[in-house]
Amino acid sequence: MADATAAVCNLAILEALSGDAVQEISESYVGFCAATESLLSGIGDLSAGSEMARHVHRLCKYQLHSLVWEHFLTSLEENFERNGAVKFWQHFEPYRDISISEVDRSHVCDDQIQEVLCKALEEISLENQYQKKCLLVLVDALQTYKDQVLPAKCGAVTKKEFLLSKYQLMISSVLMASLPRHFPEILRWYFKERLEELSATMAGESTDHFDSQENDEMDVDGNNRMPSESSRMDIDGGLHGDFSENKLIKNIGKVVSDLRGIGFISMAEDAYASAIFLLLKAKVNDLAGDDFRSSVLDSIKEWIQAVPLHFLHALLSFLGDSFSYERSSDIKSPLASRPLSCYPGSDNLSEGLVRWQLRLEYFAYETLQDLRIGKLFEIIVDYPESTPAIEDLKRCLEYTGQHSKLVESFISALRYRLLTAGASTNDILHQYVSTIKALRTIDPAGIFLEAVGEPIREYLRGRKDTIKCIVTMLTDGTGGNPNGTGNASDSLLEELNREEENQENGAVEDNFNTDDKQAWIAAACWEPDPVEADPLKGSRSHRKVDILGMIVGIIGSKDQLVNEYRVMLAEKLLNKSDYDIDSEIRTLELLKIHFGESSMQKCEIMLNDLIDSKRTNSNIKATIGQASQTSTVSEDSGNSLDILDATIISSNFWPPIQEEVFNLPGPVDQLLSDYSRRYTEIKTPRKLQWKKNLGIVKLELQFEDREVHFMVAPVHAAIIMQFQEQKSWNSKKLAAVMGLPIDVLNRKINFWIIKGIIAETMDQEGEGHIYTLLEGSGDSTKNGGDGGSCEELLAVDDEGEGSVASVEDQLRKEMTIYEKFIMGMLTNFGSMALDRIHNTLKMFCVADPTYDKSLQQLQSFLSGLVSEERLDFKDGVYYLKK
């Protein structure tokens, strides 16, 4: 076939020839073909060369050069296909069906493949080299003819190079054309296994650090191909022994250069690059793991230096890549000034390695970053123990700039894992605070934090107990962080305060740059309400504003928070049986720092009331010995007065107090009026008004076999005292004696039924129930406590009613005045948006009482009206319900 083509091409020449010439040509051609044949088949034997040269010279005489070399190349191709490619691929045939995945990587199989690969490559390289030699014989023959005809050498080199490159192209296309699909994978596997082996060797090796600067100087000028010359390297101090003398490296280097020899240059590079990246990824995963409490970035970077870069350096040196081009030594890569330039060898090698280093580091940063972002939720749960992981992530993000990845991934984790009905408001809040604290490190300007925080804030706004939980978290040390971080008895305010003090002390380590600071200041303008007084706020408080500001941002206004605190404080103070308010005073001081003194004025008066009460109480007790001037009847109760203490409040400054009316047992009533009388004597013209339902009573009930202590609300004490006179009561009669509505009595007495002190039976004769004091300790033990002095604190009523009206109740009460007005507006205008109602109220209700509610307060009042089906809310506007 090839012969025929060649013949056709030379047809024109043939026609012009004489019969003798034709005879000579055809004889020579046949001879040439036979010589070629024997040259190619005579393995290692080039003796057919001279025979072939004769024929070549004769054919060239007739200008048949191209016929000669084309035939020769074709023969080479056929021979290569037969003896090279087919045999080569046959080696890998058994591995066709082996999926070279992570799953089956038996060592036997690995060793086999390694062996087969090396053998196959060696074989094909030998074949290749022999063919090249044959080609050179032809080149030589052509050359000698040319030298005879044209003494001047021209085009000789070109011809040789032309033929060699044509040959190269030919063999690689033969191989490529028959490339089995699984071969690249075999290569990748080979490199992966070798690198892992290498990595394990490296890990085993001692990591001696020694300075090799002197050695390097010797090496700089040496353009040595010998790997041993460049065996010592010093990258960022990481240094390992004669790495490139390593047998393994030589093995790998041999494989790479064999692959290059058969034209698989980029395939080889792809294979070892992907093996390196795979190994790096595995290493990052391995080092990082699920341990967030130590930093891994530096060890990853060290490892990059120690293993892949070391390997690449050795490999590239072995291959002699760096010396394939000459470069002017004064043109240096800007990167070459880095420590890497102390690699022995030319700039090219360093430059190549620097590029590799950058690629590998970027990949490592990105891998670690993705890993950490994927686990950010857990990391934040683990905060602050996970600070090292956060620091790593920060450095990664600074490098990759992929902050948006973090935002997206974290928000979806939040939605999936935190913002669900099952999570308690407290948990959400704590995670929110931890998120702020953790991300503040990564994002000091708070830009991404804003995006991440918004879904949490929005979710929390939909929860009823959010404000309460926030206030508790801020002010209550005991119910603090469930993660148990830091001081157990620390409130968040306390923590923020301490943090600030620490920052003041270490003010030097202020690593904010000015741009960040500007952004920070802008971000710090969170305060929706004007701050009347913030005496302690200097520039230093900007950083603190962040966390607190973002917490207040959930609610929208600081006033609501303060208001809620006041209600909770009132509840707490009214349930104290002593006057110990040290922790409340401390909290108030902190709140004053953050929210301004004037905001906390009422709370301050409340605390002051307790201090005053304590003093007044002991003054009153001091009068017990003295005869009361005004009293005529109560001398005998004077001795009992010592069991009565009182908290005396300035009710104007307290939240509205829930009052309940009932009759106290006569003796107790007597005590109270005695106390009042003594108070008035000391404090005239001031007098007391008892809030009979408030306070705490400590009781001791004695059974045959044990005594039980209770701390109860006055109403419960009053009820049980009635059973001292009479062991069994009809509910109606008891209600009458107590001055309580019967349903209220039934509810209240439930407390004692649950405790197993009182039994409830139906009245056989009339209506209602019979309540009986339980006899014996039999079935009451289970509830009564275990015979000791078991103190049961029952600060708040069993029905969960507080002593103080809740903020919502207060608001509803206060807003009722405007209800008529709002209804009137809606009658006139048909429908109105929230803003408009708010502004109209502000405009018209300027006196008696002035409308002073916030938009949020109005909104919550209106949604109350909507749920009562008095208003309709659609498309952002309110209507009257028809």
């Binding site: 008066i605 203490d645 003796p667 009781l699 004695q702 001292q724 002190i757």
Partner: protein, 110 residues
């Protein structure tokens, strides 16, 4: 009458021999302590100060704490004011001060 246990099984601590005479003691003994809550108020006819219009039980505009720190004072006409308010008023008058409420000559009540 003798000892009168509340029931066969339960006593309030130290139930004493005579119920009728010592009923009260029984209660007190069973009651370790009673912490009560009261609010204080000025014993005045009006609720607000005629000068500053603030509640008596609050305090005058110059004060922060009510009660002892900002007391009320009565005039001989029986009108009451925050002490600080009437002092300011009296001091602001060039001649003899009059009660801001009834225009009678102002005199502190003895």
């Amino acid at each position: 009458m003798g000892t009168r246990p509340l029931s066969d099984g339960i006593f309030f601590t130290c139930a004493l021999p005579s119920y009728t005479m010592l009923k009260e003691d029984e209660i007190y003994r069973s009651m370790i302590s009673w912490h009560a809550v009261a609010s204080w108020t000025w014993d005045a006819q009006d609720e607000t100060c005629g000068i500053c219009r603030m509640a008596f039980d609050g305090c005058c505009p110059d004060c922060k704490l009510p009660g002892d720190d900002c007391p009320l004072i009565w005039g001989s006409c029986n009108h009451a004011f925050h002490l600080h308010c009437i002092l300011k008023w009296v001091n602001s008058q060039t001649s003899q001060a009059h009660c801001p409420m009834c225009r009678r000559e102002w005199q502190f009540k003895e």
